[in-house]
């Protein structure tokens, strides 16, 4: 995030795109609700009528995978009606002309055809966003989990840069991280191209620095990213170490991945529960859960905060960092760390953006937002204050490419997947929670009543959902919250793995898989047993209730 969570409540315009905020980030949603109560304008762009649309000023209910069209059309309006910030554009950006030319052909009227959003709504959204001083953009996986995810992000950045909504509070561009420490794992260098602190592996100076720090030679070649590793499993990749992730449940096209894991020579995992991936493991280390160890998590707003040990781990389980130290030493290294605080100290020693942060300081002051280069630096609340970080901000023209898999005769529906309030990722933790399991005990598929009726499906019926890659059986929830022709499914449930269905073909730049769009078919299996699927859900056949 370029801004902080506490700034959201002071925003005057919130443009939320591809984020089911109230379910995926309930606390951020509370801040948004507060801004709306104060009178802020809320614009939600999402193929589903997610809860936030019930309090939104407008809901742009676009066809899945047409974000680029929508964003270009908004840019078109901003350019044609001269709503951009000419001074900011001249002083702080480059590439504006190219984008202005590229969006010429993306008229709101044509966008209406492609996205299914009224041209007037697009104009209104563009005008409102461009002309409100404190206007922020918020997005999550709904933007990035597409074959054109990178383009979507450029499309948003173009809007931010041309309107100059950057470098002041409550504005800017704010990806909401799905998991607790995505930011921190990136910061720490868990990346094939970056050493800790975003120093490039390909940069000989950075390499020399770490060769000196770690006292060994390092590989000059960038590594495989996660998506490449998943495809190379069992092929060029013969051994793997996996900490704290159930890749079989969470990665796309699982059938292929399972074959790969079977062909692997050696697999070590470190986990708190036996998961789907454990079936393929040669060694499993029992790990401590978050309440049983010390360390730090870094949240979406770059705030580093302490994790403190409250109870002892069960049985012989140990903190991941302790296991890692022992494993490295068993492999011939000579690592000496007596505490997580010492590991953090080593991390920041060669990562200047973090150098001012230590466990001692966090313990004393609470969280600190990086960049925080020195011990007396207060941390950084919003990035790009008064300027764009890397000299000039670059606007990038983007062209619409349809999603890789489009609906056709055999698979006439468009399937998207996502998360819900009551479960978390692979649900290894949340499904062991009685209350959460009661609220949403089983997987389901959301289907528009008209598409359901055509297939003879009533609410609660068992149906089979199939795509080119696989098939799962779930119960049907009839709801106008999805568009006609679209279906939606949560990905938390091991017995109905949405990722048997999803497409692992991905974005050409990030390789992030296209979780949000693939072609599917639904058939009725058998009638329901009378039980209502989710009593108390705000999702109703006639659309979300707006209590």
């Amino acid at each position: 995030m370029t801004n902080s969570i506490g700034e959201i409540r002071h925003a005057d315009c919130l443009f939320v795109i591809g984020s089911n905020t109230s379910e995926a980030h309930p606390i951020i949603a509370m801040e948004m609700k507060r801004a709306v109560k104060r009178g802020a304008t809320l614009i939600v762009a999402d193929p589903r009528s997610v809860w936030m649309t019930t309090i939104a000023d407008r809901h742009l209910k676009l066809n899945p995978g047409t974000d680029v069209w929508l964003l270009n059309a908004m840019a078109n309006v901003i350019v044609t009606e001269e709503l951009y910030d000419a001074t900011f554009v001249a002083e702080h950006t480059e590439g504006f002309e190219a984008v202005a030319a590229a969006v010429q052909s993306y008229t709101p009227e044509e966008a209406e055809e492609v996205c299914g959003v009224p041209a007037e709504d697009i104009r209104w959204a563009a005008r409102t966003y461009a002309t409100t001083r404190y206007a922020g953009i918020y997005y999550t996986l709904g933007i990035t989990e597409h074959s054109h995810g990178t383009d979507n992000v450029y499309g948003l950045a173009n809007l931010v840069l041309m309107t100059g909504h950057l470098g002041r509070r409550s504005s800017g561009m704010n990806p909401l991280r799905g998991q607790n420490n995505v930011q921190g794992a990136n910061d720490a260098g868990a990346s094939p191209v970056f050493y800790p602190g975003y120093q490039r592996v390909a940069d000989p100076e950075a390499r020399a620095k770490y060769e000196k720090a770690w006292g060994c030679e390092l590989s000059p070649d960038e590594g495989m990213n996660l998506n490449v590793m998943m495809k190379q499993a069992g092929k060029s990749l013969k051994g793997m170490f996996i900490m704290g992730e159930d890749i079989v449940l969470s990665e796309p096209n699982v059938t292929m991945l399972e074959e790969g894991l079977n062909a692997m020579e050696f697999l070590v995992i470190q986990e708190i529960f036996l998961n789907e991936t454990a079936r393929f493991a040669d060694v499993i280390f029992p790990a401590a859960a978050f309440a049983e160890k010390d360390g730090t998590f870094t949240n979406s707003e770059r705030r580093v905060q302490l994790v403190r040990k409250a109870v002892e781990p069960p049985g012989q389980a140990r903190a991941d960092w302790e296991i890692l130290v022992d494993l490295a030493n068993a492999c011939g290294a000579d690592w000496r760390f007596d505490s997580a605080a010492e590991v953090y100290d080593e991390f920041v020693r060669d990562a200047p953006k973090f150098s001012g942060i230590s466990h001692q300081r966090l313990d004393r002051d609470g969280g600190l937002q990086w960049p925080c280069p020195t011990e007396d630096h207060p941390g950084t609340m919003f990035l790009h204050e008064g300027r764009v970080l890397r000299g000039r901000g670059r606007l990038t023209p983007i062209a619409y490419r349809p999603s890789l898999e489009l609906a056709d005769e055999t698979y006439p529906l468009v399937l998207s997947t996502g998360r819900t309030l009551y479960h978390y990722n692979a649900a290894t933790q949340t499904r062991r929670e009685p209350g959460l399991a009661v609220k949403q005990p089983e997987a389901w598929i959301e289907i528009h009543p008209r598409d359901a009726r055509r297939r003879g499906i009533s609410a609660g019926d068992w149906v089979a959902v199939s795509t080119r890659r696989g098939r799962v059986e779930v119960r049907a929830m009839l709801s106008r919250q999805v568009r006609k022709g679209c279906i939606w499914m949560p990905f938390h449930f091991a017995e109905a793995r949405a990722n048997l269905l999803t497409n692992d073909a991905g974005d050409p730049v990030t390789q992030t898989a296209e979780f949000k769009v693939c072609a599917a078919q639904v058939e009725k299996l058998r009638a329901h047993d009378g039980a209502e699927l989710f009593p108390g859900s705000f999702y109703r056949e006639d659309g979300p209730s707006t209590a």
């Binding site: 509370m30 495989m224 590793m229 990749l237 020579e265 998590f297 953090y344 209350g435 108390g536």
Partner: protein, 373 residues
């Protein structure tokens, strides 16, 4: 660490008033209570919460404003330029004692609920030495005996109808699952058709528990775990392990449970205004901690035996097997035949060590966190 105060953005005009005889400054829009708190005055409150619109219902926060005939609730009265406010006086004390005595008659300490939650009302009655001998007003307040939800309990007996829970559910969580019902001293907190919370729009955020000053709204789980009352629990401040918001929360630990290993028996949020989450938590942060004590946790290292089964092993053996296995792959196929996947669920320190292991121990850059977005 503090988060940005709301009022700072709403106005930068600074004005002056007098508080207990001392001139003080305030920003347009601040209430007398806010000004007083900023200047270190202690005014008792029951229905006030910084996250909610003032309601002025409990009247424990009365102050005297010169020239105003009646005492005014400081939580619901905006500061004005030139105002002269007294926060302590005989008149205020007399009123407050009478008011608390009435509360005491409706909610005698002897029948105060024992669900472990601290009771601000009982503490306030003692602190201001309010009379507790006005008898017992036996009000009939309905609760929801049939509500089987596993998290939120409600003891109508302790409810003072301050409506903090209802307003929180309405204004902050914005789902309006609960409402005030009935009248006068029979007022209680109800759901539509007295449904259990699971059957309402309730999202199980537990905010109603957190804001309740008397413990009428309480967690059910610590009772089930036979935990000590909240004041005897040890609070450990930590960061939530679910989404990327990074809520700060206090794990309430009963050290004696789990054979001395300690058990997390409830999660509470730090006070509003002190951390990013402003006193709020979601259902996962507040209630999804039972997995910690699940009997399905992996308790010992496991290794694959010759016949393909996973069997218990010592740490020594498991570490040796893992080291030999990984090193074997590197020797046979080169370091780039190894891949390391770390987790956005684990700490910064652990991610640092995984990448260091890949790079420095095995000489490969094949390292990535799962969930790179």
């Amino acid at each position: 660490m503090t988060i940005m105060p709301t009022k700072v953005f709403e106005s930068d005009t600074v004005q002056t008033m007098t508080l207990d005889g001392v001139p003080v400054t305030f920003a347009q829009g601040e209430t007398i209570l806010e000004v007083a708190e900023r200047h270190g005055k202690e005014i008792p409150t029951l229905c006030h919460d910084s996250r909610l619109d003032p309601m002025g219902a409990c009247r424990t926060c009365l102050v005297e404003i010169s020239g105003w005939r009646r005492l005014s609730p400081s939580c619901a009265t905006k500061a004005e330029a030139g105002m002269e406010v007294e926060t302590e006086s005989d008149r205020i004390d007399r009123h407050r004692k009478g008011l608390l005595a009435l509360y005491a008659a409706d909610h005698p300490a002897e029948v105060a609920v024992t669900n472990g939650r601290p009771n601000e009302l009982v503490a306030m009655i003692a602190r201001y030495a309010a009379p507790t001998d006005w008898g017992h007003l036996e009000s009939q307040r309905d609760d929801r005996p049939g509500d089987v939800n596993p998290y939120v309990g409600f003891d109508a007996e302790a409810c003072i109808a301050c409506a903090r829970c209802v307003r929180y559910c309405d204004e902050v969580e914005a789902v309006s699952a609960i409402s005030l019902a009935n009248r006068g001293s029979y007022t209680t907190i109800a759901t539509v058709d007295s449904l259990g919370l699971l059957d309402t729009t309730c999202e199980m955020c537990g905010g109603c528990i957190d804001v309740c000053p008397t413990g009428a709204m309480h967690e059910k789980m610590p009772l089930a775990a036979l935990a000590k009352p909240e004041p005897d629990l040890e609070k450990v401040r930590t960061t939530c392990n679910y989404c990327g918001v990074g809520c700060q929360m206090d794990l309430n630990v009963d050290r004696d449970l789990n054979d001395g290993r300690g058990k997390v028996v409830k999660v509470t949020s730090p006070p509003p205004g002190t951390t990013t989450n402003d006193g709020n938590l979601c259902v996962k942060g507040r209630f999804a901690y039972e997995f910690l004590d699940s009997h399905e946790r992996i308790m010992t290292p496991l290794v694959r035996s010759a016949d393909g089964q996973l069997v218990d092993a010592s740490w020594e053996e498991a570490l040796r097997r893992a080291a030999d296995g990984l090193r074997g792959v590197a020797e046979r196929h080169g370091p780039d035949a190894l891949g390391f996947i770390s987790s956005s669920r684990c700490t910064v320190e652990e991610n640092y060590l995984v990448q260091k292991m890949a790079r420095a121990v095995f000489r490969t850059n094949n390292v990535h966190q799962c969930a790179a977005t």
